[in-house]
């Protein structure tokens, strides 16, 4: 399995990788993007099995990247990992085609519950 992690913070990408491991998703190939534009390019070139994306990023934000992917017919499973966990943001994420939204700060349990619906640990 291949997981694409998109976040403009390298520190957060590292924490997401660590949390994936703690949640039982060790051993997957990890691809990293620093913004939404890179995310789209890497989804197309790397064909990941899952995208974990921040919402607010420079160049192109996560929700617009998701919309671009879906508009082009790409249905790669996509989840947000974002500091914005309000009901409004969750509704926007779901409407755009996201599988889940994990709010920061998060726990390994939150990762296991959300990602377990998409990937088998």
């Amino acid at each position: 399995m291949k997981i694409l992690i998109a976040d403009d913070s390298r520190v957060m990408r590292q924490i997401v990788v660590r949390t994936l491991r703690q949640a039982g998703f060790a051993g997957h190939d990890i691809v990293e993007a620093g913004n939404g534009r890179e995310l789209i390019e890497l989804v197309r070139s790397e064909a990941p099995d899952l995208v974990l994306s921040d919402w607010n990023m420079p160049e192109l934000n996560g929700i617009d990247a998701l919309a671009t992917l879906r508009d082009s017919g790409n249905e790669t499973p996509f989840g947000f990992v974002t500091s914005e966990g309000s009901e409004e943001m969750r509704a926007r994420a779901e409407a755009a085609g996201a599988c889940f939204l994990i709010a920061k700060p998060f726990t390994p349990d939150a990762f296991a519950e959300a990602i377990g619906q998409v990937l088998v640990a």
């Binding site: 520190v11 607010n56 420079p58 500091s83 966990g85 309000s86």
Partner: protein, 151 residues
């Protein structure tokens, strides 16, 4: 985190709870954040995010000498870190606190990307500080504040 009550301004207890949750999750549980007297030293680093829309304001973290470096090293699990690591780490911390403050306030609103500075961040005359807490982590000083926009 979900809180059903919404206020005109962020409440100190809520902001403190958010910061403590962020610290527990990403900085660690072995060194708790503690309330502290205002630090008399200079602010070495500050990080801020703005919220605009249903509520307009800014959330800021200020770090005394040595604090941002120690916090960042703990987040990254490294002994030696660069200034870029510090900017990245404390920018992400204020992003998480600010994103959760945004969720407490009336929306819809937009959250900015974090801005990190060496030294204190100046706030404009059309904002007022509505909430501030002085803190200590691992014996090192820091502070959190919320500014609200005033017409």
């Amino acid at each position: 985190m979900s809180m059903s009550m919404r206020y005109d301004e962020p409440q100190l207890a809520d902001v403190l709870a958010l910061i403590e949750e962020v610290w527990r999750s990403f900085v660690g549980v072995d060194e708790p954040l503690l309330p502290a007297e205002p630090d008399t030293g200079s602010v070495a680093y500050a990080a801020t995010v703005t919220i605009t829309g249903g509520w307009d304001g800014a959330v800021t973290l200020e770090f005394g000498v040595g604090t941002a470096e120690a916090v960042s090293a703990r987040m990254l699990g490294l002994d030696e870190i660069t200034e870029a690591d510090v900017a990245d780490a404390i920018g992400e911390l204020v992003n998480m606190v600010g994103g959760n403050v945004k969720s407490l306030m009336p929306g819809p609103s937009a959250l900015s990307l974090p801005v990190v500075s060496t030294g204190r961040i100046a706030h404009s005359n059309d904002t007022v500080e509505v909430c501030r807490c002085e803190l200590s982590w691992a014996g090192l000083p820091m502070a959190a504040s919320v500014h609200a926009h005033r017409d």
